[in-house]
């Protein structure tokens, strides 16, 4: 659910931008790179994964050093889904923690529109009121020129979705879609009975981050001869998800495992099994509380991959460090991408948090937790 329709355009645009930028959603090199990253031990403080990195190099930032406190500006792609809402809340709390270093934190919400984000970034740069700029791009190709222009005037930190330029001081993101696909498919392969039937539920086609999740998972399923009886698009809709799963249960008698490219509709998928009077399937969801609660309550055979929302903390910390002239990890800062397994489920289930809260927020030590995130 974190990636919505506009991103489809990004894929299309990247395609139009020419051979050099053409994206392949099933790139064996990227797959292998993600596999290597997952095998690494993250460096940095183990209790603060948002400060950890995978095989990162430090970059010198002494050229950006200036006296504080700092004026930081943030161009946000949007807060149009629960994942971004949790991330944005976490980011604001991180700003509060660094209050003594941050004089002002100005945000422009692009509401999911490329053109608005381009003008937001231009306005920030020409205003002269920003010491550093954080960008969470709406789409990759469309935002690249605006970010390049900003790089010439002030230090830039990009996170979540990337841009097609190396100019930002650092680009922060977790292992990514291939990693997600590898983690989830390996789990299903390890638990599935011989000849078991797997149903793959996807949100929508054409979105790079989602396509790579599926291509990596499908590669592993194929390698292991897993019987994938269907891959269906749900549009992230609960009712549609439930109807699709119900249809598959009826058609095949039973489904042994459900693979999902995002967990927002995991509970709806499980309800279809409940209502049909069938045993729960092996399932991979995501770190939303509703799914984790269901998992614990019903004792499911499940795992929750994450696209951790704690990545919203890192850019704020990095921006302050850059302005202090302290070295940061760059130009690529790969964050670890943990999964929630049975053994650490209890650590993440929290009945006081709202159903669509993302447990891997790394926000428990932040001011205002849990009320600020809608908890009780």
């Amino acid at each position: 659910m974190k990636i919505i329709a506009p991103l489809v355009m990004s894929a299309a645009m990247a395609g139009l931008a020419g051979g050099a930028l053409a994206q392949s959603f099933d790139d064996p090199k990227e797959f292998q790179a993600a596999k290597d990253l997952l095998a690494m031990t993250p460096q940095g403080p183990a209790d603060k994964p948002w400060l950890q990195h995978l095989d990162g190099k430090e970059v010198d930032t002494s050229q950006y050093k200036k006296p504080g406190p700092y004026r930081i500006c943030f161009s946000n792609a949007g807060v149009d889904n629960p994942w971004r809402v949790v991330g944005w809340t976490t980011m604001q709390a991180q700003v509060d923690v660094l209050k003594s270093d941050i004089q002002s934190f100005t945000v422009a919400d692009a509401q999911g529109k490329d053109d608005k984000q381009i003008s937001d970034i231009n306005a920030f740069v020409s205003s002269g009121n920003c010491d550093a700029l954080i960008v969470s791009p709406n789409t990759t190709a469309a935002l690249t020129p605006a970010v390049e222009a900003a790089c010439k005037r002030l230090p830039v930190v990009v996170f979540d979705r990337g841009v097609l330029t190396q100019c930002p001081v650092t680009f922060i993101n977790p292992v990514g879609g291939y990693g997600w696909g590898i983690q989830t498919a390996n789990f299903i392969v390890s638990k599935l009975p011989k000849g078991g039937k797997v149903l793959a539920l996807r949100i929508l086609p054409g979105v790079d981050v989602l396509e790579t999740r599926w291509s990596a998972a499908n590669r592993i399923f194929k390698e292991n001869g897993v019987n994938v009886v269907g891959a269906e698009f749900t549009n992230g809709d609960n009712a549609k998800t439930k109807a699709i799963v119900d249809d598959y249960i009826n058609r095949f008698g039973n489904i042994d495992a459900v693979w999902m490219d995002a967990g927002a509709t995991a509970v709806a998928a499980l309800e279809a099994f409940e209502d049909a009077g069938k045993p729960y399937p092996i399932i991979t969801g995501e770190d939303q509380e509703d799914f984790l609660k269901k998992w614990k309550e019903k004792g499911l055979t499940a795992m929750a991959p994450t696209y951790p929302t704690y990545q919203w903390r890192t850019p704020v910390i990095a921006a302050v460090e850059i302005l202090k002239g302290e070295p940061v990890i760059g130009p690529a800062w790969k964050l670890p991408q943990p999964v929630i397994m049975q053994t650490d489920l209890d650590k993440y289930v929290d009945n006081s948090m709202p159903p669509l809260h993302y447990a891997m927020c790394g926000c428990k030590d932040l001011p205002g937790y849990p009320q600020r995130w809608g908890g009780k």
């Binding site: 919505i4 809709d237 609960n238 009712a239 119900d246 249809d247 009826n250 509703d290 159903p355």
Partner: protein, 329 residues
């Protein structure tokens, strides 16, 4: 001679009885048998109950749509009203079970207002209902999107979801018994009574048959129109509560339901120009459509082929119904 007469009597009565059976009932049974051949679980009592539960919302929508169609109109706004009900339900309850009852009350209130607006525009502003309710479809959908901010948020409490989802287990003989079937039976019973057993029902038929003649005969045509749209809107809210219960919060739960409800009625022998139709037909039509969707899903056809087949089978069913009616006189 006498022997011959005796023989003809019962046979023609039997033929007449067969003719009276709604064509949709026959088509439905044929589809259901095909489903049963593909997946025998559907022939077990639990399978039948599950099927009925799935068909219930559409059957309820068709029962409401029937009133509008018989009066000679269309109600295209019901699908968007279903969406508004589901989204409104999640916004009003805010995941608090104690708010369920007043939220359902408020949703019926909203539905009634929408229905009365439809009815008033058609009856007093003399706008063709297909245009008036198309306008309502757009506005109601827009209102639902604005209310939710465009993406599904929140949850429906379990007691709200009960109507569409709750199932009694370990019931003798039928094994499971979904609450949705009780709702369907109640709505269908009420609709049958309203249309076929009251003076109001006869007036609905009269208005659809010939509005001018009905008016000259003393029927308050405007009032009848107002009522049929209100009834249709209330049935849409009911279907919305059921669908929200079955599937949870969803922003496009109602998309296309208005056409499915109209198609169900048409398959059930309801005449689109008004004046002719029966509740049994509308419900049987809804069951037929649900059976058709299920059948095509079980066959595992790709979506475009499924849609093509759906269209062709619908046309065939309606054409057969019309041909049979012409022959039957």
């Amino acid at each position: 001679m006498t022997i011959a007469l005796k023989e003809i009597g019962p046979r023609s009565r039997a033929v007449a009885a067969v003719r009276r059976i709604n064509v949709a009932v026959v088509v439905f049974l044929a589809f259901y048998l095909a489903i049963g051949l593909l997946q025998p679980a559907y022939l077990e009592p639990a399978g039948v109950m599950n099927f009925l539960r799935r068909a219930a919302p559409l059957a309820i929508l068709a029962s409401g749509q029937l009133f509008v169609l018989v009066s000679g109109g269309f109600d295209l706004s019901v699908g968007s009203l279903v969406t508004l009900t589901v989204i409104g339900g999640s916004m009003l309850t805010a995941n608090d079970p104690s708010k369920t009852w007043w939220a359902i009350g408020a949703l019926y209130g909203i539905g009634l207002v929408v229905g009365l607006i439809n009815g008033a525009v058609v009856a007093y502003l003399r706008t063709p209902s297909i245009i008036a309710t198309l306008g309502t479809l757009l506005s109601v959908n827009g209102a639902a999107m604005m209310w939710s901010g465009g993406s599904p948020r929140g949850y429906l409490p379990d007691n709200f979801r009960m109507f569409g989802r709750f199932v009694f287990h370990d019931v003798p003989v039928i094994k499971i018994f979904p609450v949705a079937i009780v709702v369907l039976a109640a709505v269908a019973g009420l609709a049958w009574w309203g249309l076929h057993a009251t003076v109001f029902g006869r007036r609905v038929f009269a208005v659809g048959d010939n509005a001018r003649a009905a008016q000259l005969a003393g029927v308050r045509v405007e009032f009848v129109r107002l009522c049929v749209f209100a009834i249709s809107a209330l049935s849409a809210v009911t279907a919305g509560v059921m669908l929200g219960g079955f599937g949870g919060v969803s922003v496009d739960v109602g998309r296309g339901l208005e056409l499915q409800a109209i198609a169900a009625c048409v398959v059930g022998g309801v005449q689109l120009m008004g004046g002719r139709g029966a509740l049994v037909g509308a419900v049987a039509g809804a069951l037929t459509l649900t059976a058709l969707f299920t059948l095509l899903t079980l066959l595992g056809w790709p979506q475009p082929l499924k849609e093509t087949a759906q269209g062709l089978i619908l046309i065939a069913a309606v054409a057969f119904g019309a041909w049979r009616r012409r022959r039957g006189g």
